[in-house]
């Protein structure tokens, strides 16, 4: 029982991180219909942004306080939002009217460019760097259990962000424009929507969420390095497909599902070496029976 609850919290925390990343993939796909492979590198840059801002910023707050951690998180989100918008502006916007394959290959190029530039010794270097302890290690012990406090923080912050995102997409003018653009870009333009601004905003939003995920991921990892985004990026991509690419609740659900699967499979000694395999097997299995993903709708093309 204790084992189960601990794995559950742990899995929810990991799943929250995947969910935050998956939302970025799925939002960009929803609007531009391509997979932004550089998204996993934005998450890495989020962790590095926090690595560099943390020492001066946390200095302004009581040591390892929530306020200090929040300030670092916010700054890193803002930095990544700008990076995400820059990537869109410089790499993808000039290719807007080109075949989607061109953009997809460009995305892979951007990803490799960021990864290998950052590995250069004059940039970040390839070796593992210790991530600053933003919050103290703390464990709760309700009813004889041992629960990692930072996992709870991750889950709670993610829940708040998901609620905020839902509000933004469903209730605000920008959210309405995003939904309209994702359905029909030309028709949205005919309503007076500045398409470029909506796309830019979407990249900024997705990248900010990725930055938060990157910081959370770094808090749980041994350290940070320029290739650290690849694995969570891949898992989050699977999560987005699993939930139904283009579907926001689907991405969140897929992320949580994958986090739980990975944690529980990893927690069983006989399965722990196969956890990546198990995650992919589940993806293949679900896509065999529901190609549009868990919450995805079957696309009906109308002429």
């Amino acid at each position: 029982m204790e084992w189960f609850v601990q794995q559950l919290i742990n899995g929810l925390a990991l799943g929250s991180i995947y969910a935050l990343i998956a939302l970025g993939y799925t939002m960009v796909y929803g609007i531009l219909r391509f997979i932004n492979f550089a998204h996993s590198d934005v998450l890495m840059l989020g962790a590095f942004a926090a690595y560099f801002v943390a020492p001066p910023v946390t200095h302004l707050f009581p040591p390892q306080s929530y306020a200090g951690a929040l300030a670092v998180l916010l700054l890193s989100a803002v930095i990544c939002a700008i990076i995400g918008m820059l990537i869109e502006f410089l790499a993808y916007r000039p290719l807007r009217r080109r075949p989607r394959l061109t953009v997809l290959i460009t995305a892979i190029g951007v990803s490799l460019f960021i990864e290998y530039t950052c590995q250069h010794e004059k940039v970040f270097g390839a070796q593992l760097k210790p991530f600053p302890k933003l919050l103290a290690e703390q464990n709760f012990h309700p009813a004889g259990l041992s629960i990692n406090g930072n996992d709870v923080v991750v889950v709670v912050v993610t829940a708040l962000l998901l609620a905020g995102l839902w509000y933004l997409v469903q209730k605000t003018r920008m959210g309405l424009a995003m939904r309209a653009v994702s359905f029909n870009e030309k028709a949205a333009a005919l309503m007076g929507v500045n398409i470029n601004r909506v796309i830019s905003f979407t990249f900024g939003l997705g990248s900010a969420l990725a930055a938060v995920a990157g910081v959370f991921y770094a808090m749980r990892a041994q350290g940070i390095e320029p290739l650290m985004g690849i694995k969570p990026g891949l898992y989050a991509f699977i999560a987005a497909v699993l939930g139904g690419i283009g579907n926001l609740p689907g991405a969140a659900l897929g992320g949580l599902a994958l986090g739980l699967i990975e944690t529980f499979a990893g927690g069983i000694p006989a399965l722990s070496n196969y956890r990546d395999g198990i995650a992919f097997a589940i993806l293949i299995f679900i896509l065999l029976f529901k190609p549009s993903g868990l919450l995805g709708k079957t696309q009906v093309e109308k002429v």
Partner: protein, 236 residues
Amino acid sequence: MMLEIKNLNVSYGAIGALHGISLQVEQGAIVTLIGANGAGKSTTLRAISGLARAKGQILYQGKDITNLPPHKIVAAGLSHVPEGRMVFANLTVMENLQMGAYLQRDKSVIRTTEEFIFSVFPRLAERRKQLSGTLSGGEQQMLAIGRALMGQPKFLMLDEPSLGIAPLLVKTIFEKIVEINKTQGITILLVEQNANLALEVASYGYVLETGQIILEDKSDALRANPKVKAAYLGGM
């Protein structure tokens, strides 16, 4: 002159769609553009609303609006109801209308326009909470027109409003188009394959054939023209 097009050329890749057309629309008028499928009618509207890149000149109230991005054209007061209606099927009727009012900031103006649209198309009021993808073709056309009106246009472009709609509804929709023109003073440029219907409501018409204007005249004269009769009015 409300809208003036001079020597407009549009091509899609290597294929020319419009070869130097010129036309004029007077303030408060309903002017129609008729012609067969593929003649370039929709392309003309797409060029005006900024969806297609064009060479030549498009003047709106004397100002050059050629190749402005679509959102600036809308802001200038021109609305385009595209072919195939293009309602946002993933949004409700109400949300579609909100999208139409995207550039409108004045809440009371938005409310008055909404009321006007619901009075013209009561069917939309009944279905305001429904996803617009579940509406019938005719209702979607009403929504597309209503959505365009939400933007307070002074100049409305309608692309094939009769396409794929039950004949009974087509009559209603054309009556509404005239009503909108009369009561709101909105100038209308109407593209139609159904030339009979279009020439009935319009005061002036242009006949487009393979990207060129081959005829233009008052609607009555066009309806009496033997060439138009033979080619576009079913020989009546």
